[in-house]
Subunit: 257 residues, 2 copies
């Protein structure tokens, strides 16, 4: 069968990935930041770059794991630091505090995210016309802010992210395509927030798609989501798999030119 | 690059499809029906079967074209007839009348759709454990009804379909996975209908996903949608491409066992 034969080709494609990583120290005025760059050393030519922005916990192993997986897929990935070196926690209270420190100043929030993108751009590994950003939870909201600031990105992907509405001044000026991957049972995001988010994207004339997974809550891509004992945080294998596959198809579309 | 190499494999995969079709006459009590079966003659083993249900216009070339494309992808596809032989129109009034004749009796609606599925099952070409159904507009609502009736399907896909809510009696008993591909600007489907549709799917415990395309209206997959002069009917190339790709990934997941 044609599609089975194709599947076989995919499955047996030699695993040539030779993923490397390095620590990248950078600075946002007085704040010292530490990110991680991942790339496949078997690839010698410039390739698309993906910025990865962490959950509200800070830049922990989860965001780094996703960046590493992206490198296995052939991208250069940079797991950015939005809080500051070593600011990683498992306390929701602490996470919320750090998150609010960043999000309270939208311009500062966007420029810190842009500094992460900058690390990709100066890595010497990427094709600078083929950049995208993904983010989880707080990171999802962060990549949406980058789209609203019309960052030099082909697209952004939010996984169970907060959904800040596009501001008035973004109208007609959101070039990145937007893909939102959302758990329908996520009680952190009220239905009216979702409705307003969509309405504002339409008003802004953005290219957007939202995939909603029935039964999935916040954190559906993170196998450790439930360990915090918060009922709205739970892994969902099906939604995880579907959202990751959708992201890959989205990238294939964005980078096809 | 690994993913580019893979893309190349896909693009250069030899086009061996040898799509055949045949007219299938069948009967729903007194109503004579005429459907079309499509399959790739180069494939000799049983393969997944996909039922295709037409828009409210009746079984026209558009639904047949989709069935033919599915055969090119390696499936056996049956474009079912839900109205009766030669009941095809370009008049919205006539379309609505024929549609209402079918939908007024939910049991009759479901059993007529099941008769379409039956034609696939008796074709001698399909793997009877690997069946799915897709539908457009009225056809989208039809495949949802099949899911609510717990038809022998791995999954159903609605493209810009009407969104009937799952009935009480379907609770805990919807085995087919449900994928809904929806235009956010589709004024035929009110926001409260969408909200209720989702709520009832959750209550029923269904596995469902809904992809919403910003700016897309009804008929976004049909290049001829706008010819009827109805402002809510318009083709959207991006949403068409994304939804067709998402359907294929969904099938790959459904039929992976």
């Amino acid at each position: 069968m044609r599609y089975l034969a194709l599947l076989l080709v995919i499955l047996t494609f030699p695993a040539i990935a030779d993923v490397q990583s390095k620590v990248v120290k950078y600075q946002d005025e007085e704040t010292a930041l530490t990110g991680y760059l991942y790339w496949d050393d078997a690839i010698k030519s410039p390739r698309p770059g993906i910025l990865v922005i962490h959950e509200w916990w800070g830049l922990n192993d989860y965001a780094r794991k996703r960046a590493s997986l992206l490198a296995e897929l052939g991208y250069v990935a940079f797991a950015a630091d939005m809080y500051g070196t070593d600011k990683v926690t498992e306390s929701p209270g602490q996470a919320e505090e750090w998150m609010r420190e960043v999000t309270a100043d939208v311009e500062g929030w966007r420029s810190r995210a842009a500094l992460g993108l900058r690390q990709l751009q100066v890595s010497g590994l990427v094709d600078g016309d083929h950049l995208a950003a993904i983010g989880y939870c707080f990171g999802g909201a962060s990549v949406l802010q980058m789209a609203y600031a019309n960052a030099n990105l082909k697209g952004v992907v939010s996984f169970h992210g907060a959904l800040p509405a596009a501001p008035e001044e973004a109208r007609g000026n959101i070039k990145p395509s937007i893909l939102v991957l959302h758990g329908h049972a996520d009680t952190f995001i009220a239905p009216e927030v979702v409705a307003n988010f969509r309405e504002k994207l339409d008003e802004a004339g953005a290219d957007w798609e939202m995939n909603t997974y029935g039964g999935a809550v916040h954190g559906f891509t993170n196998p450790n989501a439930a360990k915090h004992g918060i009922s709205n945080l739970r892994y969902d294998a099906k939604a995880d798999k579907r959202s990751w596959a959708r992201m890959q198809a989205f990238f294939a579309e964005l980078f096809s030119d």
